[in-house]
Symmetry: C2
Subunit: 257 residues, 2 copies
């Protein structure tokens, strides 16, 4: 059955969406069937793949609130056989208040329930979370079996790790006992500044072998690709960014064992 991986870190701008989109695409190229679930109201993973959502089209919002069936909301990514997307839309902002209002008995479990029947159909389900520890990210962490943590080698990113680990522990104790760390991914890596080395050392000494061997280097092709609605492997396969994400996907596949 499909492996469900949440891409989460409440620190903003660390490369969650870039990682979700490009791991999803790289796994699809490796002949896996992948569902990319966008639960960020910013809907960056959705627009980063060039998917335009109409007013009447069902999205993560309708699926979570039970207004639409997930099978009616999932769309294929036409340029890559094996890659499918549950698109998001800004109206998902409204769900954060509605989920708390009390009409749902266990609002944290909604995404998990919606994905339940799909797990047999996909090899991987990748969930792109927003930059917060609110009800949407909690839904992602409860639905997932593992969490992949992208992190920049900078001070504020390091500061935030403590909060994230506390949240993961809380979720493991109360909502999802099976939740494990899939891995910690160094992103936007620039080997030149001292700061990078200092922070990297702290991350590796804390997480040890959980830190992926693959490091995602800062590479402008990764920032350009979404403006063309493509993952970087279709935008520029020869780029450092594409090579990094292909090697990361290989590491994830090797871990399938």
């Amino acid at each position: 059955a499909g492996k469900v991986i949440a891409i989460a870190n409440q620190k903003g701008g660390v490369g969650k969406t870039t990682t979700a989109v490009n791991i999803g695409a790289s796994l699809a190229v490796a002949e896996r069937k992948v569902l990319l679930v966008d639960i960020d109201p910013q809907a960056n993973a959705t627009t980063g793949l060039g998917i335009k959502v109409s007013k009447t089209q069902p999205t993560t919002y309708e699926v979570l609130l039970g207004l639409a069936d997930i099978n009616d909301a999932v769309v294929p990514y036409p340029e890559l056989k094996g890659l499918f997307v549950l698109p998001s839309h800004i109206r998902l902002v409204g769900a954060q208040v509605e989920l708390r209002r009390g009409s749902f008995e266990k609002p944290e479990f909604l995404l998990r329930e919606r994905l339940q029947n799909l797990r047999e159909e996909y090899d991987y389900i990748i969930i792109d979370c927003p930059p917060s520890l609110g009800i949407l990210t909690i839904n992602g962490l409860v639905a997932a079996k593992t969490v992949l943590i992208p992190i920049q080698c900078e001070y504020y990113s390091l500061e935030g790790l403590g909060q994230l680990l506390m949240t993961l522990n809380r979720i493991r104790k109360t909502l999802n006992p099976r939740l494990r760390i899939e891995g910690v991914l160094l992103t936007m890596y620039d080997p030149r500044p001292n700061l990078t080395k200092q922070v990297e050392q702290q991350i590796r000494s804390y997480f040890g072998h959980k830190v992926y061997k693959t490091v995602i280097h800062r590479n402008v092709r990764l920032a350009e690709a979404p403006s063309f609605g493509k993952p970087v492997i279709l935008y520029d396969i020869s780029s450092k960014g594409a090579q990094n994400y292909l090697s990361l996907a290989q590491e994830i596949i090797d871990g399938e064992g």
Copy 2:
């Protein structure tokens, strides 16, 4: 009376905290009295100035919920006469649920009410917002007279602008009719990639003269400074980052007229 400026953009990692801390410090150096309000549960502005919050110390959380008086929570930043901070703490995450629970008649106005009596004491009140459009950012936008929008010249940042403007319009209509855009600030600017020029052109054609003349260039000194608990002007006054933020503070002061 003091000018209240919110630093907001729901897109993560665009330089909100870096801008709040360094504008605050640059205005203090120009002999203004400045209060930096941290309403992000990540508390990056607080730790970025080396402020350690104890368990019993009142923070934004206690002030918002009425558990402590704001005058007991504000602390001076010892290295710069004129700079004061209302510190945040991770427990502020809890306020997002408590503010919605219904015990407050107008939860969106709490920060504005708490700052009411301080406005005479400070020349500027700078509010650092979290990367979301939830109740904490709304509190910041309702308390503020103007909003300064930091933005990277990248695709996802541009995508998010539409949502931010929609939210500002909604707040102007329902909660804070005086809310104006103080300015749009280009951050982490790297003139080399085509992407930068393309996005910059779109931002300037949309916002016109609202875009600050000062552009904040990508400069590693800005990322290093918070690990020493200092604004960049105290960490490395000769750096490009320090020069950029001093010139931005001058633009803001020139606009006082």
